[in-house]
């Protein structure tokens, strides 16, 4: 390890920096020195006695031995002090001065003892030769607060000092071409050319990848260097925040082991899948969300405001055991920003985005469609639907009213729409009170042309910490979120937009809505609120009051507690009114007004109102202390309980006379046209948990944690479970023998094992109960029925996951290259599933879930990072991650399949069976050559006769192992800084996945009877003239591609998920306007995608649910202002 010393020509101050872990102590020391002019307290050096006997070793080695046998440590510059010379020491209970006097006798070297720290320097440092000028200035942090203790060095010399208590420095005799280097622990080093300036003021910027980075680990934090678990953290200062309004989507590709897919969804209700290290169970595999220390599972991360988040940490291995029965799917910890000491910093950000569908399903045009209708008819022996003349008109577009070419997606979807995100926050504090307050707003325009949809969101956050006295701290966290969402009633939108014929108009030239598809006009649906809409008004209020007390009698002991009260409300309204289309009568020339086909025959409204209250209380007794500067113990014991109460009311009325007032009272007063209902439920958790972290000299770390967890989901006897987690780490780079490997800055080996649970199952499965339902009508009146619950399972308990993780972390070449590798193996047992294989239906029992399934999941993760600062203007970082996770069903009590290739056991979770399509029958002779279904004709799919029995039936379905959850996911993030510019880009990729590309979009390629189809079918489609076509004929009766391999596509993709160009306005300019920082940027989201569904226009991640909107491509411009 390289050490260097600094000499100040003014004579009596030494400032020394040694890279490594003692750095903190030094910093403290430096601050002390500069602030109080160093009162030499020689207590240790006067009392300590050293005994050593060493012969002919290097001075360097000798000093190290002294360090090892005492608490002294040495600081020196090995370019100025000859540490390679051989020395002898023979000391018995000697004071350090005696030993040092001996070592340095007649060496032209002097030493200075500052308590335990000893600085060695040449006795007569030569003064710099070209003595010229003086420079002074002030060093501050980003907020403008003065920064004492910053090292200021003239580059290439040993001239330097540290800033004083007010952050001021003053250096004289500076060469004219001097470059000043400013460095401070935890801050980025900076360099400035002095030129002819007399004053250089510097604002230090926090180091983002500081070695002292702290991560949240559940009920506490830990220095990242000593973390022993597999933990991924995203610091929100580091990532470029994605312009997508959905935070989960914005994080895709950023963390190893975290698999995120955007499944499309509705406006304001995006569907995102997030799996930690793949899917480990056949049941609910969603992770646990903990926000500011409280379990909060409201819509995951989807609707959080990234401006309010400090960091997100993912606990992927046994480190989650502290969350016991809920942790098996991984834990996502969100930490919001808190106040920091200093004058208020006001941040304002504004983003304006232009969003539009990244993909649009490619439908056949009217000519292609009409041609295929004719072909289908011809193949059935029917007359063609369209004459050649009509086909020609579709083709040339000469009569766009009678022979139109309507693309229903073009008609309905906006290519670009606006979205705005605004956030204003203030952060600051004093010694007594620190605060962070933030208000965020989001507004998204409707994705449909002239649509009436609405998506507004407000996020408010206030985190306040107050020191009541020197031992007591209290905190209050408040967050409020309001969502207002209105969407058209979209359940059939996809059907209509896809299947509706391109040969009909959406609107007549006079602006009236045309017939569409059986009076279901997709355009009307999204434009006329009366056709039907869904609206949601949601509010989530969370409050946490906490207090922490350092018990004064025992050093390091503290008691803390908190009480949280979360209130969630959802008010939903669904209205279906009267909307009209017009049918044109060619003979009379009239437009006949007709009520559009709706879900309801008369206007009706249904309302529901649900509230959920969660009360969580916890208390914790903690002990943290470092003993003899070697043994650090950080331990606690905690207790937590939470109770959830949900109530819901719903009501509806039909036969609204007028749509003018869309509230319940305005509906029919006939009791038979009214309905109401309500329900309630409650849930509770109770648990004890604790953790012991032990750390020896930051070199050997061990951790034990546990949770004794009780859930009301299970019967009394099985209610409590014990979930332990252990882990250990060895910071190899701290070992003496590593000092000779200067390349390695950091090398850590860690391993963990833990047991966790998954209790996400329906409650009360242990009780025999009855519920109302299965009603029946007598004499035209509905009479209630009563349904017996399934057979109770008195033994029901949690799923358990046993997870092993081995990780290696290293950082090389002064942080230029970072590498993290993890291997993991999880065995999930007691998976709740039904006894499929053993209980026949004839016993008539509704089977309970029983803890009988088991699944294993294993894989590895890799995180590579590279930082390089080429010069003061040009720096870049490159970070890549890679995850492989493969699950394997060990036992789900599967009924023996007739064919071995149909077994689900031994395959990944979510494997499915399909008929394998091996081609298209060319002609009648070809059909006869291979087994086929009854009625098969040329142009039909050739299903593989998998069992070679000469018959095609369900036993020929073959199980496929790749699922929609990718086995491989990777990401690559590049960040480049050049002068005031920053460029960032994130690539996200996945492989070994399979997606349904066709089934949902168009299972039935039957243009004549069903409707339009993706043009993919027509490209190289089979026709009598093209018998070798690779796509089937139209009108495949019973040859539904949905259950065949033809519907599935390779799910691999590589996409440019985020890209950003930013410019930081020069400070000199900003200071005129009292602005500290101003950053303007352009961001893109979902810019490029390379995948197999490009030709279909379907987004690879969302699969093919046509009712869902395709994820957006967003171009965003924004500005961040700091005052």
């Amino acid at each position: 390890m390289k050490k260097f010393g600094l000499y100040s020509p003014s004579g009596h101050r030494y400032a020394v920096i040694k890279k490594g872990l003692i750095i903190v102590k030094i910093t403290l020391l430096l601050i002390l020195i500069s602030t109080f002019n160093l009162l030499a307290t020689d207590t240790y050096s006067q009392t300590a006695r050293v005994s050593l006997k060493l012969n002919q070793i290097s001075l360097k080695q000798a000093l190290k031995e002294i360090e090892r046998s005492s608490e002294f440590y040495f600081l020196y510059n090995n370019e100025l002090v000859d540490v390679e010379r051989k020395v002898d020491i023979e000391a018995k209970n000697e004071q350090i001065n005696t030993i040092l006097d001996h070592l340095f006798a007649n060496q032209g070297v002097k030493y200075t003892v500052y308590d335990k720290q000893i600085v060695i320097s040449p006795a007569n440092m030569p003064l710099p030769q070209n003595v010229q000028r003086k420079i002074a200035g002030k060093v501050t942090d980003q907020s403008g607060a003065s920064l004492p203790g910053v090292t200021v060095v003239v580059k290439g010399t040993t001239t330097g000092l540290i800033t004083d208590g007010n952050g001021n420095y003053s250096l004289s005799n500076i060469p004219e071409n001097a470059v000043l280097q400013f460095s401070f622990i935890g801050m980025k080093s900076q360099e400035f050319v002095v030129g002819n300036k007399a004053t250089v003021n510097v604002a230090m910027v926090e180091e983002t990848i500081g070695i002292e980075e702290v991560v949240a680990i559940g009920y506490g934090t830990q220095k990242k260097t000593v973390v022993t678990g597999a933990v991924s953290a995203v610091n929100f200062k580091e990532i470029s925040v994605s312009p997508t309004p959905n935070l989960t989507q914005g994080l895709a590709g950023q963390m190893p082991g975290v698999i995120i897919n955007s499944r499309g969804g509705r406006f304001g209700k995006e569907v995102t899948d997030i799996f930690i290290r793949g899917k480990n169970t056949i049941n609910d595999a969603t992770p646990l969300y903990v926000i500011d220390g409280v379990v909060r599972n409201y819509e995951g991360l989807d609707r959080l405001d990234p401006n309010q988040i400090e960091s997100i940490t993912i606990l992927k291995d046994a480190s989650g055991a502290i969350y016991g029965s809920q942790a098996a799917n991984g834990v996502i910890l969100v930490t919001t920003k808190r106040g920091i000491k200093g004058k208020p910093i006001i941040d304002f950000s504004f983003n304006h985005g232009f969003a539009g569908p990244a993909r649009q399903i490619k439908m056949a045009d009217s000519y292609t469609f009409a041609s295929k209708v004719n072909l289908e008819n011809t193949l059935k022996g029917l007359a063609p639907q369209y004459t050649d003349a009509e086909l020609q008109k579709f083709k040339d577009g000469s009569d766009p009213v009678k022979y139109p070419n309507t693309n229903w997606y073009d008609e309905t979807l906006r290519k670009s729409r606006s979205q705005e995100k605004t956030n204003l926050s203030v952060r600051g504090g004093t010694d007594e009170v620190k605060y962070f307050l933030s208000l965020g707003m989001l507004n998204q325009d409707d994705p449909y042309i002239h649509g009436f949809g609405l998506n507004k969101q407000y996020n408010m956050l206030a985190n306040i910490d107050a020191n009541i006295n020197k031992n007591l701290t209290v905190s209050f966290n408040f967050s409020g979120r309001l969502d207002d969402i209105i969407t058209p009633f979209l359940n059939d939108f996809g059907d209509h937009a896809i299947q509706c014929f391109p040969t009909v108009l959406a609107k007549y030239p006079n602006g009236l809505y045309a017939d569409g598809r059986g009076s279901n006009n997709a355009l009307l649906m999204v434009q006329d609120k009366n056709y039907g809409y869904d609206s949601y008004a949601k509010a989530l209020i969370t409050n946490t009051l906490g207090a922490a007390y350092n018990i004064p009698w025992v050093k390091g002991l503290s008691l803390s507690g908190s009480y949280s009260y979360d209130y969630y409300k959802e008010y939903q309204k669904q209205y279906y009114g009267d909307a009209y289309i017009y049918k044109y009568n060619e003979t009379t020339g009239e437009y006949v007004k007709t009520r559009a086909s709706s879900r309801t025959p008369t206007p009706e409204l249904s309302n529901s109102w649900t509230q959920s209250v969660v009360k969580t209380a916890h208390s914790k007794l903690a002990f943290k202390r470092t003993i003899a500067e070697k043994h650090t113990i950080d331990a606690f014991l905690g207790y937590e309980q939470s109770k959830t109460d949900v109530v819901s009311l719903s009501a509806g009325r039909k036969q609204f006379i007028s749509g003018a007032i869309q509230e319940l009272f305005a509906g029919s007063s006939d009791k038979n046209q009214q309905s109401n209902s309500g329900f309630a439920s409650e849930a509770a958790y109770q648990n004890y948990f604790g953790r012991v972290l032990y750390d020896y000299m930051n070199k050997y770390m061990a951790q034990f944690q546990f949770r004794y967890d009780g859930s009301q989901n299970f019967p009394k006897e099985n209610r409590f479970g014990f979930f332990p987690g252990i882990s250990a780490g060895w910071l190899i780079s701290k070992e003496a023998f590593m000092e000779n490997v200067p390349v390695i800055d950091h090398l850590k080996l860690r391993a963990s094992w833990g047991k966790m649970g998954n209790d996400k199952v329906a409650a009360f499965q242990y009780l025999r109960s009855y519920g109302f339902g299965n009603n029946y009508s007598f004499n035209g009146t509905v009479v209630s029925g009563l349904v017996q619950s399934g057979v109770p399972n008195p033994n029901i308990t949690w799923e358990t996951a046993r997870t092993t993780d081995i990780g290696l972390e290293t950082r090389l070449w002064k942080g230029q290259l970072g590498l993290e590798m993890d291997y993991f193996y999880t065995k999930r047992e007691n998976i709740l599933t039904k006894r499929n294989a053993t209980v026949p239906s004839y016993v008539g029992l509704t089977l309970p879930n029983e803890n009988i399934g088991s699944v294993e999941n294993q894989g590895f993760e890799l995180l590579l990072s590279h930082n390089h600062e080429i010069n003061k203007d040009f720096r870049y970082t490159l970070s890549g991650n890679f995850t492989y996770a493969h699950s394997n069903v060990l036992d789900i009590d599967e009924v023996p399949q007739q064919e071995a290739y149909q077994k689900a056991t031994g395959m990944p979770i979510g494997s499915y069976m399909v008929y394998e399509i091996i081609g298209i029958f060319d002609d009648a002779a070809d059909v006869l050559r291979y087994p086929h279904l009854a009625g098969t004709a040329p142009g039909d799919l050739i299903r593989r006769d998998a069992n070679n029995d000469g018959v095609i039936n369900s036993f020929d379905r073959v199980r496929k192992g790749l699922t929609s959850i990718p086995e491989i996911q990777y990401g690559l993030t590049l960040r480049v800084g050049y002068k005031q510019f920053e460029i960032a880009a994130t690539l996200q990729g996945q492989a070994r996945a399979s997606v349904v590309g066709l089934a949902g979009v168009t299972s039935f390629y039957e243009p004549a009877s069903v409707g339009n189809f993706v043009s993919w079918f027509a490209e190289d489609g089979w026709t009598p003239e093209n018998p070798t076509g690779t796509r089937p004929r139209p009108g495949l009766y019973g040859q539904n591609v949905g259950g065949t391999s033809m519907a599935y596509f390779n799910g691999a993709f590589l996409r440019l998920k985020n890209a950003e160009i930013a410019y930081n306005l020069p400070k000199a300019l900003l200071s005129k306007f009292n602005v500290q920082a101003c950053r303007v940027f352009v961001t893109g989201y979902n810019l490029i995608s390379l995948d197999a569904l490009k030709d279909l226009g379907i987004d690879i991640e969302m699969g093919a649910n046509p009712d869902n909107l395709t994820p957006d491509r967003i171009i965003n411009i924004g500005v961040n202002l700091t005052f």
Binding site: I468, S597, Y776, S777, V782, S841, S1003, Y1037
Partner: protein, 537 residues
Amino acid sequence: MKKILLFILAINLLASCNKDFLDLKPLNLLSEDVVWQDEKLINTFVTAQYNAIPHGLDGGGDVAIYSDEVWFQANRGLGWEWATDAITADNVTSMSVSFNYWATAYSYINNMNVFFEKIESAPVEASSKNQMIAQMKFIRAFVYSRLLWNYGGVPIIDKVFNLSESFQGVTRNSYQEVLNYILSDLNDAIATLAAKQTGANAGRASGDAARALKARLLLYDASPLNNPTNDLTKWQAASDASAALLNSGYSLYPDYGKLFLIDGNSEIIFQRYFNASAGTPFNSWATTTGSNGRGWYTPTQNLVDAFEMTNGELPFLADGTVNPDSGYDPSNPYINRDPRFYATVLYNGAMFRNYAIEVYPGGRDLKPGNDASTLTGYYLRKFVDPAQPIALGNYGVNPWIFFRLGEVYLNYAEAQFQLGHEDVARTYVNLVRTRVGMPDITESGAELLVRIWHERQVELNYEGHRFRDVRRWKIAPQTESLPIMGTQAALVAPGKYTYKPVVVSKRNWSDKLYYLPIPRDEIIKSGNSLIQNPGWQ
């Protein structure tokens, strides 16, 4: 300092341990002991069991969609395995519930076994208890009847299993054992239940409902499939069972079309009621695409050709040529047909919902723009109430009739014929024909039997009989190997059409199709003690 300590204590007290904290009860469920002590709740449990009996107005349309009567246009997704001979004991479970009835039936049988176990000790008055027991016996009998018709002999399960016992070794009871078990239940029901349920109880099991089920059951039992030796005592039993209902206060409803739309009309012996808040989707699903319905239930040419001309002659001879005596005009095929044709089938030019149906290329009802235009050239009118709204929800309120007098007449006629009483047989067939104004039949001998069978095909179409009738008569090898046919109309001049037969689907018959396969899983789970039906192994 004291204040601080108090504060800390208060925070921690809030989080203090509470032993009963996790002892929660479900807020939306009743516990078992409450239910079986309360007559009203028990009655509610009984009510729910009526759902055990599939009706024909849901997606599956009972078993009609698997017969030659109706081509279920939407079964591209639901039943293509059946249409393409890809059905196996493995994927039979993906079919509609009336067809794949096994698991549903036994689940309800278990409910009823629970009832029979609990009702003994329930503090309910004897008379009320007996009424509930008799209703449950009727439902149980109906469930087993449908199992018997689908699969032949099935295991009789008359106990409630518990999870810890072995389920293996259960064997199929014989056809006769199951039949006897059903008959015993039905006889108990007949003895206890009022012959007719009225008022608020209309739609509950009645004595006559039990009699009607018994009549159908015994008719099937006497039929060739189950009576290879033609044991006449079986026909006598069938005849007696039907005779019990001939003079019980029911009469043929004069309007054949409205018969299926009006609750509690004079002909109905047992029906399922619906209302607007719990209706069926049938109306929207069956209505023509031109009226914004889905047009899923499309009558086949096979059925259309079965309707006689008003003169009583069939339009086609057995060899497929036009019957010269019928007056049938292939270029104008829909005139002078049996009135039941007009009540059943919507054909090109038929008036419906205030316009003439257009089922030709470019016509309103064969037009691009809906999920499924007809492939057969026809839409269903029977069961479709034009007064009901077309909407995607379940708004259909017309009844599903399980038993009606018309069927009983034809059951009786068939049994009487087999017993040699041809005149009685003719009389009852003619009663059915007279209602719609069709001329009497006069045939005798084998020709008469064909007329009786034919009358069932026409009169009871789409009511779930045809699928079972062709099997029990053992004529399925002929009827079920014929392709499903349709017609294609073409507009040649205003008001002038040509019609061309088209093959909608080719079919193959195999004798295994007399019975449905027991799901393969069931056989494995029984430890192979269940024996699969022939041809499905």
